[in-house]
């Protein structure tokens, strides 16, 4: 059984069926990729899994527990953290502050603790700063820690969004085009980081267009077309599949 399971998930907007009875599974400790042309429903799928839109029908399970229609923060707190196609960093906050927001179970998020047990808050804060700096170092943007996030380059913002997601201690990461618009050498580096994280036990569901990158890094691929899964398999099988060629290059 996978860490994430979708069973016959359907979502439509008005008359447009964005997802039509989509079933898929993400294996624990694997990188599962979602491939498909623009408008095929990939981002909708991430939005449905992360609770932004409730599905019209179908069920979603995470580690065997049903999460269908939970709200985004509840799903995040179970350990599913998603990123966005556009990095959506908190532009007017510093890089380190972006990271710290994401830390889990912060005592200082309670007003009472903040007012009456400041020392506890400080202690946990120091711990979180240390952790945030470690992640920034891992992603090689530690030197930017005091910069406004809005001043970072596009690629650096992508890295920060990934770092911020890691700070939330995910079990499963949903990455919506983690290297879109990133220069190829940096894109490769980001995927190498993702491999490193996978070896530490993290699971991934990644939307990606770049077929080369997928072949090297993904363990399993689903192809989405007009809201339906039209092919699934190992990357090398997918590349040879007729449906995929049709989806991308026409019949």
């Amino acid at each position: 059984m996978g860490i994430l399971e979708l069973k016959e998930v359907t979502k439509s907007f008005g008359g447009v069926v964005a997802l039509n009875r989509v079933s898929l599974e993400v294996e624990e400790g694997e990188i599962t990729a979602l491939l498909g042309p623009n408008g095929s429903g990939k981002s909708t799928l991430i939005n449905v899994v992360s609770g932004v839109y409730p599905p019209d029908s179908g069920r979603i399970f995470f580690s065997g527990k049903e999460i269908t229609s939970l709200s985004p923060h509840e799903i995040a707190n179970l350990g599913i953290i998603r990123t966005f196609q556009v990095p959506r960093v908190f532009k007017n906050l510093s890089v380190i502050e972006n990271m710290l927001v994401a830390a889990r179970e912060q005592r200082g998020e309670s007003l009472a603790t903040t007012l009456f047990r400041w020392r506890d808050v400080r202690a946990q804060e120091e711990e979180n700063i240390r952790k945030a700096l470690e992640i920034l170092e891992f992603l090689e943007i530690e030197h930017m820690k005091n910069e406004y996030a809005g001043n970072l380059s596009g690629g650096q913002q992508k890295l920060l969004a990934l770092g911020r997601a890691l700070m939330a201690e995910p079990k499963l990461l949903l990455l919506d085009e983690p290297v879109a618009g990133v220069a190829p050498p940096l894109a490769r580096k980001i995927f190498e980081k993702i491999l490193e994280l996978r070896s530490k036990g993290l699971s991934f569901l990644i939307i990606e267009h770049n077929v080369d990158v997928l072949m090297d890094f993904a363990g399993f691929v689903y192809v989405l077309h007009r809201g339906e899964i039209v092919a699934k398999g190992k990357p090398e099988e997918i590349l040879e599949s007729k449906q995929v060629l049709e989806v991308y290059f026409g019949e």
């Binding site: 985004p72 532009k91 502050e97 994401a102 007012l115 808050v121």
Partner: protein, 295 residues
């Protein structure tokens, strides 16, 4: 005391009171981006609660506390439907709420005496062995300091950081596991209670309040303080409050000093609007910018 000195002390007292009000709006608007255009409602609730309780013979502290609690509860009740609205609709809903409160005060005569207002509101610690106006200056300043430090702690805490994250991008904050509705509601309740403190200080200083003191223009004046001073920067907001109140008090006494051919009170509204437009166009971040957090 000479007239000029008395004018200065009076102005400073108003600055203290409105700085508290502006700081409460800053928590909502500057830090969290909750477009509250009904601030005056909570100012009025504080003023009337405190006045009614003390007129009934209870001490100032109890009046103050009642105001804080009533404003907090009202803020919570308003936040349940209002905070689910998009920010522009929130602005409209809160401006309407401000008017509802003012019309309530105007019409429920059995409680508020309607347009006649409440007179003879007792002054706290009126037997202090010093000039009472000077005392009230120190008294209101002490409240300002406490509110300032309190909000500084709140805003610089992880709680405040989540509020800023909500301001920047609410969906992202949710995706990182923050129950943003709870945070916004807490910010709104806190902002409402603090506005009520300013209301109490206002009522007990003037010793007379009436519904026409709580027109929507009060909200706009406080907004101008926050925008001009610098959204998110508490010291800036206090500076903004000082500037706007100085302008307001000065235009009030201008009539006695010089004839400038227009009604100074109307001139004040023109200046306020002009200032707001100029800042939004040419310096939207205000005089002072929000302080960057660094390690």
């Amino acid at each position: 005391m000479s007239t000029l000195l008395s004018y200065l002390v009076d102005t400073l007292i108003f600055i203290n009171i409105f700085a508290i009000l502006a700081l409460s709006l800053n928590l909502e608007v500057g830090v969290t981006r909750l477009m509250n255009f009904g601030k005056v409602a909570f100012f009025a609730i504080g003023a009337y609660s405190s006045a009614l309780v003390t007129l009934a013979g209870y001490p100032f502290w109890l009046g103050l506390l009642c105001g804080i609690v009533i404003a907090g509860i009202t803020g919570f009740l308003v936040s349940i439907p209002a905070l689910r609205l998009r920010e522009d609709y929130l602005a409209i809903a809160t401006i309407a709420f401000g008017e509802i409160i003012r019309l309530f005060l105007l019409n429920e005569r059995w409680l508020t005496r309607g347009p006649i207002g409440l007179r003879g509101i007792p002054r706290p610690l009126k037997d202090v062995p010093m000039d009472y106006q000077t005392f009230y200056l120190l008294f209101s300043f002490a409240f300002l300091v406490v509110v300032f430090l309190f909000l500084h702690r709140v805003i610089s805490s992880p709680f405040g950081r989540v509020l800023k994250a909500i301001r920047e991008d609410e969906l992202v904050a949710q995706s990182l596991g923050k129950n943003t509705f709870r945070f916004k509601a807490q910010a709104f309740v806190l902002g409402s209670s603090i506005a009520s403190i300013a209301g109490s200080l206002f009522a007990h200083y003037l010793t007379f309040i009436s519904p026409d003191m709580f027109m929507p223009t009060v909200t706009f004046a406080v907004w101008t303080m926050v925008v001009v001073g610098g959204r998110g920067n508490a010291l800036g907001v206090v500076a903004g409050a000082a500037l706007i109140q100085f302008m307001e008090r000065t235009t009030r006494i201008m009539k006695d000093i010089a004839d400038i051919g227009v009604e100074p009170v109307n001139l004040r509204m023109v200046l306020l609007g002009l200032l707001l437009i100029l800042f939004i166009m040419y310096r939207p971040q205000g005089i002072f910018m929000e302080k960057k957090y660094e390690v």
